[in-house]
């Protein structure tokens, strides 16, 4: 017997692990949901879910928390992907926040993100009584995530307690929760950014075109390149826009997502750029500059 025939390459091993995690949730929880951010990691997670239940249908819906400030191309992509691939799609908006006129330009990134993203997510989870929610977070994204479990317990108030995490051994996941408590599940925990790009390339997974370099209307605001995506951007800022060839390394609310100047218009070029770049992906998210350990703070409050 040739042992070489029985070894998996790293990508296939990660894929097998993620599918195992996704199936475990479907088998153990009453009402799971997959949180869909429309980003590249979400796209990979969604594809893994499709594979996990092939030739059957995925037994849980996708949910997108729409802050109403996402790039228009993201929303188009979301609706088209869900429709073409037979997904049940739930879109939740914090209508109270919307009525109060909360937005990044008027209230700043911190308030906007808290109300329209974190609070909206918590409300939506309560409303649908989901007992398990998949997220596309990876451990290598950010320091505080390195210690996150794959199955991460949240109390009735959706709080994460980093000092009191359940031990997680082998591939035996503790899925027991009381009513009202829930588990956040991160099937991509062990994937790196390069793994994600590799998999998108290998599997031909569709992603939002914003990831690829193109001429776009850009303003430079406090050192960050922001795209003018609609007329809600205050005119005195928007009028400074010039066409620049940029792409986005992460996607979110357009006023809060910095672009990078780039010529990378295909995956190979993106990877090449990534391998030689000097910035990690989260630095293009404006919201991270608020305070040291800000991601950990957000996680404690219930953000992914």
């Amino acid at each position: 017997m040739d042992i070489q025939n029985y070894s998996l390459n790293n990508l296939r091993e990660l894929e097998a692990e993620s599918i195992h995690v996704i199936r475990e949730v479907a088998a153990s929880f009453e009402k799971p949901v997959m949180l869909y951010s429309i980003g590249k990691d979400s796209s990979v997670m969604v594809r893994l879910a499709e594979k996990a239940f092939y030739p059957g249908k995925v037994p849980f819906p996708l949910m997108h928390i729409d802050t109403t400030w996402k790039f228009r191309e993201m929303v188009e992509f979301r609706d088209r992907y869900a429709a073409e691939n037979g997904w049940e799609l739930i879109v939740e908006i914090n209508h109270e926040g919307l009525a109060a006129g909360i937005g990044p330009f008027t209230h700043g990134s911190k308030v906007h993100t808290d109300v329209m993203k974190t609070q909206a997510l918590l409300k939506a989870l309560d409303k649908h009584r989901f007992d398990a929610a998949f997220g596309g977070a990876r451990r290598d994204e950010e320091k505080s995530r390195a210690k996150e479990r794959i199955f991460s317990f949240r109390d009735r108030f959706h709080q994460w307690d980093p000092k009191n995490q359940r031990p997680e051994l082998w591939d035996i996941y503790n899925t027991k929760v009381h009513k009202g408590e829930s588990i956040r599940v991160f099937p991509l925990s062990n994937w790196t950014e390069l793994d994600i790009w590799q998999y998108i390339r290998l599997e031909n997974i569709p992603i939002v075109p914003l990831y690829f370099a193109k001429e776009r209307p850009i303003v430079e605001h406090e050192g960050t390149l922001i795209m003018v995506d609609d007329d809600r951007m205050p005119a005195h800022i928007a009028q400074k826009a010039t066409m620049r060839k940029v792409r986005f390394r992460t996607l979110g609310c357009y006023p809060l997502t910095g672009a990078v100047e780039s010529d990378a218009d295909n995956i190979e070029k993106i990877v090449e750029e990534m391998m030689t770049t000097t910035k990690s992906e989260r630095t293009t998210r404006v919201i991270d500059f608020d305070q040291e350990g800000s991601m950990e703070q957000k996680k404690r409050e219930g953000y992914f």
Binding site: S7, L8, F53, K147, P162, P167, K176, T192, K269
Partner: protein, 650 residues
């Protein structure tokens, strides 16, 4: 030959071939163990740094942090890159498992970084559970210390086959070969007591970078590989068990009537299309028609692939069942011995009915016995009644339903389990199965015709008539059924006293006496109840055979189960007494359990969330309100049935 230093840097234009090549790399998961002072974080930081994983902006943030809380003087503190959470950063220690990722031209790596403090055995065990290899750090100035032994023991307990003993801070002992050799010798002496097949010794200095990525010219006497080079080349894929095919069904896919697939992860062994498989526990066989992987149909599958199997025949198979080769079966047992690591702040309570999760099965389990506790520092064994946080012991466990397992040393997937606290739902303990205790002697069915026949073969030397003459009674069982709070126990105790006073020889059994010992591992589920009564009925049978009258007081809600009890005891001497009390009476008589059940905090309470079937044909039907009258009726009945008293002439 230039070795190591194989960090990623694709030549421009060759990105596609770089990606193709990168994709084919395999993955090595390793654990690092060592104390704060051994320079563990510095070593990991160095590995990450040199593999270009640390991006410039993270370094800039690092410089900012170092000025405020850095511990490394003027040098860059690599440890700050690793310690994520704020509180930990301020204490300057890592207190949990953190996972790190890096890659070289040859391999991808996942590091489980775990702390070395005694109180965090829990975290080290967690990190070790998914690792193929462990790097154990030793300070060259201190040599093999208690902590080194502890780490090594835990690594061997979790079944890691490859160890690197990294003797760090060689720069502080003048790169002395003698010091290094002494430490290696000490370590070799210690590990003879453990089963560790592959140990590699490397002298290095994480701070100076000696023998970490490149071989150092400071230690020309060292002829081995640098740490990174070793990590890139160590052969680990054959560590997997390819011999014993085990496929624990994780989920059944049934999208339409034409397709029925069994999905899960191949725990071990290899499965091929067209092979005959056996389903456990049903022992039904069928043939593999399709193997569907993430990339479509395959001819064979191996661990750790996540696949879906279809079979030629419609056999009943659900989550937790297992597909295996018919000539290579796992253990199917309810009792086994295991090494248990206690992970909970809460002290082990030996009376808890834990949930056990093993190979996709979740059932109840009970710790029967702690054979001994192991001191992780000295490996000495001692007696104990309960394990506390971070303690390790060898235990005997009984589960409510049979588990399908292999010894952990042979199969890390089917030999591992976790225990979950039934109230807090915390993961209280994790275990590695050593083996079954002895051949199963506990039939899982309520009535086992075979054992019934065997019992009937046993013949006492004392004749039935001699017994009746001595006791002035005939062995019989009074089985009292009724809702919780219906007055069963009051009747039972009053009867026992009255019969005793009248000269009868009586044994009384009720739920709490039976559960305190005989049935202590059973729960209150319908299956647990049935098993409890099955055992009690067998006890009654033995006692009745020897002329003793038994009084049993159990809710016994199911008609079918009561009939089986009569079969076990013998229908002619089994007398069913029904306490006919309404639910309202019972609730007001004993409200506590009903209130808990109403709130959903207690399950399977007959009359609330579990049916109580009124007996169709009881020997007696009594009302609880007038106990004296009821007792008199039973006494009269016993006389009529010639159970007690009987005259010696009979």
């Amino acid at each position: 030959m230039k070795q190591a230093s194989s960090t990623q840097h694709p030549a421009p234009g060759s990105i596609s071939s770089f990606l193709d090549q990168d994709q084919q790399k395999d993955l090595l998961r390793f654990l690092t163990a060592g104390s704060v002072d051994d320079g563990k974080s510095t070593l990991i930081g160095k590995l990450l740094f040199d593999s270009k994983k640390i991006y410039e902006d993270q370094l800039m943030a690092l410089e900012r942090d170092s000025k405020r809380i850095g511990h490394a003087g003027d040098e860059t503190d690599y440890a700050l890159l690793l310690d994520g959470l704020q509180a930990e950063r301020e204490q300057g220690i890592t207190i949990d498992v953190a996972y790190r990722y890096f890659s070289t031209n040859k391999r991808k790596f996942i590091i489980a970084d775990t702390p070395g403090h005694e109180q965090y055995t829990r975290n080290m065990v967690t990190g070790a559970s998914t690792a193929n290899l462990a790097i154990i750090l030793v300070d060259a100035r201190k040599g093999v210390i208690t902590q080194t032994r502890r780490h090594t023991f835990l690594v061997s307990l979790l079944g890691i086959r490859h160890i690197v003993l990294a003797v760090n801070k060689m720069d502080l002992v003048d790169y002395s070969e003698e010091v290094f050799e002494k430490i290696c010798d000490d370590y070799k002496k210690f590990v003879t007591r453990l089963s560790l097949p592959d140990i590699y010794f490397i002298p290095l200095s994480a701070l100076k970078g000696d023998n970490v990525v490149e071989l150092s010219d400071k230690m020309p006497w060292y002829r081995g590989k640098s740490l990174l080079h070793y990590l890139e080349t160590v052969h680990v894929s054959s560590d997997r068990n390819f011999d014993d095919f085990r496929f624990p069904v994780q989920i059944v896919l049934r999208p339409d009537l034409d397709f029925r697939g069994f999905s899960g992860k191949v725990a071990s062994g290899i499965v091929r299309k067209g092979e005959k498989l056996m389903a456990l526990p049903s022992r039904k066989s069928s043939t593999v028609t399709r193997i569907i992987g993430p990339d479509g149909d395959m001819d064979y599958a191996f661990p750790p692939q996540s696949i879906t199997l279809t079979l030629a025949d419609e056999i009943d198979l659900s989550r937790g069942d297992m597909l295996v080769h018919p000539d290579n079966l796992p253990r199917v047992e309810r009792q086994f011995e295991a090494m248990l690591v206690w992970m909970d702040e809460k002290l082990m309570d030996p009376f808890t009915q834990f949930f056990i999760k093993q190979a996709n099965n979740v059932t109840r389990a009970h710790i029967d016995q702690i054979r001994y506790r192991v001191d992780v520092n000295t490996l000495e064994q001692s007696e104990t009644n309960a394990l506390a946080l971070n303690e390790i012991g060898r235990v005997v466990i009984t589960s409510a339903k049979p588990l399908l397992f292999d010894p952990y040393h042979r199969n890390r997937s089917t030999g591992a389990f976790i225990l979950i606290d039934p109230i807090t739902h915390n993961t209280s303990a994790v275990g590695m199965i050593i083996d079954k205790v002895n051949p199963s002697d506990m039939p899982s069915r309520l009535v086992d015709p075979e054992s019934k026949r065997l019992i009937e073969q046993g013949k006492s030397l004392i004749g039935k008539q001699e017994l009746e003459k001595r006791y002035r009674q005939r062995g019989a069982t009074l089985w009292i059924t009724g809702l919780h709070g219906s007055g069963k126990n009051l009747l039972a105790y009053t009867l026992e006293k009255q019969l005793f006073d009248a000269g009868a020889t009586v044994v009384m059994v009720d739920g709490s006496t039976a559960r305190s010992g005989l049935n202590r591992e059973l729960d209150f589920s319908p299956a647990g109840r049935a098993e409890q009564m099955r055992r009690v009925a067998h006890v009654c049978r033995i006692l009745n055979d020897q002329g003793i009258i038994t009084i049993c007081s159990f809710i016994s809600p199911r008609e079918q189960v009561r009939r089986q009890l009569a079969e076990i005891v013998g229908p002619e001497r089994f007398h069913l007494i029904y306490m006919d009390a309404g639910l309202d009476y019972c609730r007001s008589n004993k409200p506590e359990l009903y209130e808990l059940a109403d709130k959903g905090q207690l399950h399977f309470l007959p009359g609330v969330d579990e049916p109580y079937e009124v007996p169709e044909n009881p020997a007696l039907s009594l009302k609880p309100e007038n106990m004296a009258e009821s007792v008199a009726k039973v006494m009269e009945f016993l006389g009529e049935m010639k159970v007690f008293p009987i005259s010696s002439s009979q």
